[in-house]
Point group: C2
Chain length 409, copies 2
């Protein structure tokens, strides 16, 4: 797919696209005083909807509800709460997820079957549904099509995140101005195949739900599915994309130039959001881009990238600015992908560290200097084939332990 598509960044996040409003309010689920914990996105007209969800066998109640909405293909709104994942909550959880949609439906005069729900936070505690329903009514009052609506929504969905995560871009599709904007949350329990991660993207592009689903799947595969903080997939991972057609472009119903342009913008937005998650990983002090090429296949490249990105030893070495290429090679060699030490070349921050099966000639002081920046690139060329993939992660610090040993049930 050609990616020579021009777009510019704009403000507004999930409220940037025409016809969308958003809000974020406090309903009282988060312990922290004044912290927003309920977000709402509404479109002024029906949307094609597509999504990707956790493959956990204990998928949370809201995942089940939203999956059904996506199957039907049409949505008008999204209700999302933070502070409680509504996961491992049994039948009561399913009722509570439905109640979130029903409350929003009554208030907004929308069929609840066209309302997606999402939750994130503690697992295994019943949702204080009265608070959530009250929050939905408050949020409906606060809906705004402007930047502040998008910003409040972004704040309402975060948990251990240290920053809100928002991006929007504008491009021309079929002679019309199309906007794609989104927000996400995620910081721990982050791993390929959708982690404790909620991401919501809205667009005013006109596109069928089938083509939207194709674009979403493909964008997720190279963005949210290529980040890892700690190798854990969660019960709640959700990416939802709503497209309301307000841009007025000819409805995209097949592949072709318009689809490619839209897909490129969606991929850019998803990749940007995914990288923000890796950068904001729990306790992270460094952002790591792992570029694998020359693998026997793309799946081998992804496997190796993930193995390196998931290795606690590699992540600790990065934390300590240690050019410990041995741990990187050990990870790549152990993951099951094709790997021949004598062929592989590994660079750290642009400096060659390993080739021909042994340490490269680069002086250790140069390698050490290459590890010092906050952003570190690991480049591994396997010289076996054409498979390539980029994976993003962060370092592993004492702070991660603090966050996750002290965050109590």
């Amino acid at each position: 797919m050609p990616r020579s598509v021009k777009f510019r960044k704009v403000a507004g996040g999930v409220a940037a696209a025409k016809g969308f409003s958003a809000a974020g309010v406090r309903c009282g689920l988060k312990l922290k005083k004044n912290a927003l914990d309920l977000g709402l996105i509404v479109s002024d007209r029906p949307c094609s909807v597509a999504g990707v969800f956790t493959t956990s066998r204990a998928a949370a109640a809201p995942v089940g509800w939203s999956r059904d909405v996506v199957k039907r293909g049409t949505a008008r709104a999204v209700v999302a709460n933070s502070g409680n994942a509504n996961a491992c909550t049994g039948e009561r959880g399913a009722r509570d997820a439905a109640a979130m949609a029903i409350a929003a439906g009554q208030e907004l005069e929308i069929d609840p079957d066209e309302i997606c729900v999402a939750s994130t936070g503690v697992i295994g505690r019943p949702l204080a549904i009265d608070k959530v329903v009250a929050g939905v009514l408050d949020a409906a009052e606060e809906l705004s099509p402007d930047e502040d609506g998008g910003a409040a929504f972004a704040r309402a969905i975060i948990t251990t995140d240290t920053v809100e995560k928002t991006i929007a871009v504008r491009l021309i599709v079929d002679g019309k101005v199309v906007t794609v904007g989104g927000s996400c949350k995620g910081s721990g329990m982050i791993c390929p195949n959708m982690a404790t991660m909620l991401a919501f993207v809205t667009t005013d592009a006109a596109i069928s739900s089938a083509m939207l689903q194709a674009a979403v799947r493909s964008a997720a595969d190279v963005s949210f599915n290529r980040i890892t903080v700690d190798g854990d997939m969660s019960t709640n991972d959700t990416l939802l994309v709503l497209a309301n057609g307000a841009a007025g472009n000819k409805r995209i119903t097949r592949t072709g130039r318009a689809f490619e342009q839209f897909a490129a913008a969606l991929e850019f937005v998803c990749t940007h959001l995914a990288k923000m998650i890796a950068r904001d990983g729990e306790g992270a002090t460094k952002f790591v881009e792992i570029r694998v090429r020359g693998a026997a296949s793309e799946s081998d490249a992804v496997r190796i990238g993930r193995a390196i990105g998931n290795s606690p030893l590699v992540k600790c070495a990065i934390h300590g600015n240690d050019p410990n290429w041995g741990r990187i090679i050990a990870s790549a060699a152990a993951c099951g992908a094709r790997f021949e030490p004598a062929k592989a070349r590994l660079s750290l921050g642009g400096k060659l560290a390993f080739e021909k099966g042994v340490a490269a000639d680069t002086p250790l002081t140069e390698l050490e200097a290459a590890m010092k920046p906050k952003d570190v690139a690991i480049e591994l060329d396997l010289r076996l084939g054409k498979g390539a993939a980029t994976v993003w992660t962060c370092d592993l610090s004492r702070e991660y332990i603090g966050i996750n040993a002290d965050y109590h049930t």
Copy 2:
């Protein structure tokens, strides 16, 4: 296989069995002053030899050498060094591994093809082979068939371990006293499929190398392959078992009572050593036993046990004495094994935490109290089938980060 075999623990480690001597000396590879770093085991007669090795595609040079010895089936001695893994060292590494065997062969008047070698330590640095060869000569002088020989060997193979790891047992096989003893090292880069782990077991049982290999494979599968510290497999993982027949039992050449008795003792020794590694995991403050049963298959049980044991979030929760069953269920549900939340039952330290898809009635204070001991048992009954497996791990502490961020290349 019936496991109603009686045996008693004895001292001596790898030197406990009849006809074996051992030594540990300092050759100067480890930076730490006075630290032993070269170990030697010698049998007074030829042994059947069996082994299990890392599946890393960048297996270290000594692994290649020892694999060949095991293929031929006969050995007389083992030379092992710590302080340098002789991994990612190319052709020079292969020459150095051979030189270790040749030096020992000359000194001991044994065919080098009957001498196993093993290395552990930093990856990617050429071995100071002169020091190693000098160490081999020193060790040959120090060989002792007594406890102190076994103890010195155990000290010589450790790296970041905080304790030496040794066990030996004695049992009656076929009317003869048989001894099985061993030592291992390992603390970080520890994961199923043999991690940065060296383990050596000696026995005076008479057994063919084919039957020995069968017993070793089966023992490794339920011991060393069921521990995890950090999910990383290393380039050097090696388990070697030498059986010299000095006990005088009828040579075991097929399955039957004698084989079962011997296999039970070997499994006990391997399991004991493996658990010592998990308990001594880098930075560990807690020892965790994960007992999975009722799985759809044994491989599902192992997969779930490993997923829980590898989860940094679960390990952090255990570090913080947090009965965070949600993270355990999330790990089990995400690993790809069959899992039905509504059927599963999870207990922490003997207290029911989760059943019927939701939190159990056990008061939080009771669950918290159950997490406080240094040894914690996680019991998960999936109620789907008969698959069962036990996996051992440790918690994840700030100290792990310290050890691995500050241990420099």
